[in-house]
């Protein structure tokens, strides 16, 4: 009886853990444009624990700062989806129109910011009701967005204008326009002093200083599509899709110090500093490659749904 009780208890505990595990630390979401699917990856085991179907052509993903919701853009159908991160079900959709693409969530949980690729504007959206609460004109074809950890400043990669728009998130105004390389696409503003911008067509990374908006460019790539800072190490990671590489950049010397051949058209990159891992979405190969950030060796390769372009870590 004792054994049976222990077994039942273990079973219940496993069930409970099974339900709550995806919402705790160690969860990575891979968004697949082709499959119209979110794959939930348990980073401890490196396995896909759940596959969640969403509406067609999902392109951008952001997680609420409290880790309870994931927001997904669908540019081809003008749609925004809210996914419940506890139940992994679609908790709401909103037809916001245009071609919603890049998305970030304000750290205080109140607003979402979404780029409208063909509308040349940013939409501010109430995170609870998904209602549009404001629009702001930016440059042409705004792609991905980034927001400062303090929530005060928003950055938009205005791809066809070759510029980054700097936006005061508090009063939702465009305060500066910074020329970068050709076709800026993705950015990372998590660094305390710098914003990194991947310039796809000129094949470089622009680094913008937050204090004075000065820029410098790190060259030598073919088509960079993703950037991510490695906190505390003075390093920046950049995916080079055309070359099939992940490049490791030393920020102080502005040089590429390491190149890892991945193949598979690497696009999105995220860093899980606490776990010592970086993850790269390989769009063509339909896999996520995990690397150890101490030596940039490949830790594991995770097969996922068709067409993974971006990822998000659940806090």
């Amino acid at each position: 009886m004792k054994l049976l009780a222990a077994l039942v208890f273990s079973f219940l505990a496993a069930l409970l853990l099974g339900c709550s595990a995806p919402a705790t630390a160690g969860t990575l979401l891979a968004l697949c444009q082709g499959a119209a699917e979110v794959d939930v990856i348990d980073t401890a085991t490196g396995a896909v624990s759940m596959r969640v179907k969403v509406d067609k052509v999902p392109a951008g993903i952001a997680i609420s700062s409290d880790g309870t919701a994931a927001y997904i853009t669908h540019p081809d159908i003008g749609l925004l989806t809210r996914l419940d991160v506890k139940t992994w079900t679609v908790a709401g959709t909103a037809h916001i129109g245009g071609q919603p693409f890049g998305i970030v969530a304000a750290p205080d949980g109140g607003a979402l910011y979404v780029s409208d690729w063909s509308g040349d504007r940013i939409l501010r959206i109430d995170a609870r009701s998904l209602a549009v609460t404001g629009t702001l004109a930016v440059g042409r074809s705004p792609a991905h967005l980034a927001i400062d950890p303090d929530g005060r400043t928003l950055y938009s990669a205005d791809r066809e204008s070759d510029e980054v728009s700097i936006i005061n998130a508090l009063d939702f105004t465009r305060t500066a326009v910074i020329p970068v390389g050709r076709a800026p696409y993705a950015l990372d503003a998590s660094h305390p002093e710098l914003v990194a911008v991947a310039d796809v067509r000129s094949g470089d990374i622009a680094l913008i200083t937050k204090e004075k908006n000065n820029t410098k460019r790190i060259t030598g790539m073919k088509m960079p599509y993703g950037v991510a800072f490695v906190p505390g190490k003075g390093l920046l990671l950049a995916t080079d899709q055309q070359a099939g590489m992940l490049d490791v950049i030393d920020i102080a010397t502005e040089t590429i110090i390491h190149r890892i051949r991945l193949g598979g058209s690497p696009e999105g990159v995220v860093v899980d500093a606490a776990a010592g891992r970086a993850y790269v979405a390989e769009w063509f190969a339909n896999r996520i490659t995990a690397l150890n950030i101490d030596d940039f060796s490949i830790a594991t390769r995770i097969p996922v749904c068709d067409g993974p372009r971006v990822m998000a870590l659940v806090p």
């Binding site: 540019p75 081809d76 071609q99 066809e160 088509m223 055309q242 058209s265 769009w283």
Partner: protein, 182 residues
């Protein structure tokens, strides 16, 4: 001069499509598509690369390419005009990596009547398949001919994927025929 005339001719049909739609398409949409084709070829990687690695030489092996007008040699920045059945498109050479036996190019001037895509990047690579054989891979990232949210059927994602897949399959099979001398 030839190039100016060619690009004007290529632009006119695209303009017609744009006017008919009354909703301007963009060169780049937010949602790329992908396609690839592979073939195993009874030729050494070096022998195959000699044929496939020549940017100007695609007319010698690709059955859908009726003629090629190239300038700029075999280095990044070179251009070639491909005459296809329904019109011309212009490619720009991005990268030649002889060590990896890999050639990458992009669409410089679109012509959705000739090929229903608004932009592409293509990589052709030759891999060693062992035993004196090679594997050739043609793979591309591209955007549908009309990147608005309401494309006509002939310019949607499915049409783009079908056309690029057909282009790649004809390409790798054409290389096989050429390299194997059949």
């Amino acid at each position: 001069m030839i190039f100016a005339r060619l690009s004007r001719r290529a632009v006119l049909p695209a303009l017609g499509v744009l006017l008919a739609l009354a909703a301007p398409a963009q060169a780049h949409g937010p949602t790329p598509q992908k396609a690839e084709a592979k073939a195993t070829i009874a030729a050494t990687p070096d022998a195959l690369w000699k044929i496939a690695g020549d940017f100007a030489g695609i007319g010698a092996w690709h059955p859908m390419v009726k003629a090629v007008k190239a300038k700029g040699g075999n280095v990044a920045g070179a251009e070639r005009v491909l005459v296809l059945e329904k019109g011309e498109i212009t490619d720009g050479l991005d990268d030649v990596d002889a060590a990896q036996r890999s050639l990458s190019w992009r669409l410089n001037t679109e012509n959705v009547e000739a090929l229903p895509v608004s932009f592409y990047t293509i990589t052709l690579s030759v891999n060693d398949a062992g035993g004196g054989k090679s594997e050739v891979v043609m793979a591309g990232r591209f955007y549908r001919g009309d990147t608005s949210n309401f494309p006509p059927d002939e310019l949607n994602d499915e049409a783009a994927v079908a056309a690029m897949t057909a282009f790649f399959e004809a390409g790798v099979n054409g290389l096989k025929t050429k390299a194997e001398g059949k």
